[in-house]
Amino acid sequence: MSQAAKATPVVQRGSPAQAGRSQTRDALRRLRRDYMAVAATLFLVLVALVSILAPLLAPRDPIETNLSQRLVPIGTPGYPLGADELGRDILSRLIWGGRISLLVGFSAVMVAMTLGVIIGLLAGYFGRWADSLIMRFIDILLAFPAILLAITIVASLGPGLRNAMLAVAIVGIPYYARIVRGNVLSLREQEFVQAARVIGAPDARIIFRHILPNTLAPLIVAATLDVGWMIMAAAGLSFLGLGAQPPTAEWGVMLSTGRQFIRNALHLSILPGSAIFLVVLALNFLGDGLRDALDPRLRE
């Protein structure tokens, strides 16, 4: 799990709308000054655009085989990044693979964050037995190394891309729940929350209008860093044969099959691995930049 997910939660105190807008503007200004984060964002936007436009940009069908072009190297006419063991165009497979990897990464984070936030809010706000019960369950989930828990879940649900995505999402839930619970415990004693309670605001309003917006900063940072981790974990599960299955054009699957040809077709292993590495690196640069921008104290 990402470091940010384990980091001490950051709390933005005070919630007037004007101050909120000003803080966001300040954070964006700080982010714009971080060249690595800006470069990472541009790269990620490019990858996202290429993935969205995959049907238009990919020169060939990613699962169309052509045995006469089997294992052709990079630079072959019609196959700019070569072809795999069944003569499938690697460039097209990388483009479609990006679509799957980004979709898995972002969807898994959304699921993990949504459920984690709900659980964290319930545990932190209502406390008592709900908190004890939820936190004991989270302790049990955290007793597993992250990838082992994902493998355990896939072992139960059966191999497949959807199950792998679900598994990495479930693994992420405890980390978000912990971040939110920690923040809620500190926020519920703040004056603005007590004031809302005194004027008779219902619990749902206090939670969603006053507490949740103040836990967003650490969540955004954790989520950005987690997308990278989840892309890597899902690719890892596919690499083990537990995630996406051949002939799906997914980076982990491509790496797993490419590995069998490292003696005579290096590009089959190097290209999909490089794609995972560059996307995860960009997400980590962006996550670091966001963390520094949202809480400049950490930079010091």
Partner: protein, 316 residues
Amino acid sequence: MTRYVARRVLSLIPVLLGVTLLVFLVMKLAPGDPAQIMLGPKATETSLAQLRHELGLDQPIAVQYARWLGHVVQGDWGRSIQLKREVLPFILDRYRNSAYLMILAVLLACSVGIPTGIISAIRQYKLDDRVVMVIVLMGFSMPIFWLGIIMQIVFALKLGILPVSGMQSPGQTGLPDQILHLILPAVALATGATAIIARMTRSSMLEVIHQDYIRTARAKGLDERLTISRHALKNALIPVITVVGLQVGYLLGGDILIEIVFSYPGIGLTMVNGILARDFPLVQGAILLVASSYVLVNLAVDVAYAYLDPRIHYEH
């Protein structure tokens, strides 16, 4: 301190029970009938019913869990469907192989990560610090299984200086050969952990060197090297212990992937092969062993942390 340790050990019992329950339930949810898998597709209804009865699969789930837990506590972890042998001795043997790999990886990660973090902190915002931090970020952005493959290509296939996979060369039994086989997987496994340890050491060191007592040491004219090594380092390394402990979890996970890349006969390879063959007792045993050892490592880290920083158990 003794009371703190006793309390921590006691708090492990519900967690370990929870781990066993989760592992048991997850395997129960897995599709497929264990009796059918054991007897094959040609089994008759009568023989299936008889085996289900022998295995206790016709009992309520709570009874099945209690029976299974009773056997686990007594060292009977079941029989592997695929290997037709006792699970526990087999996975302990495989776990020992993984332990060699992980111990070497932890040693590598600490011996490179901690000095790198210290140097980076001392040279904060200088060019070398920035370069090191970019390399560190690259280190933990790199998929471990891809790094393993790249290392196989470079050091085994191109340069030919290290073995490409396995734990021993055919016909060789000596320790030097085993160590040669450990180098590539251990380095690949250690890379991510090294990066995280370096980053955490840097931030912990930065926090310490901005403290008043370090300023005092400098103000009284103490040599910078002595200030860092005698005053700053000891305190800065305390949080690093927690990070090293957390990295054991990362290594246990990464180990599974690395063992597949290097065909290393450890617990990870056993587990994944077991999942693909639907060998439930073997998978259940392997997951339980790895998760339990992670819980125990975390306990050891907590105790070490409390020993080094007495504020921890006073606060508890």
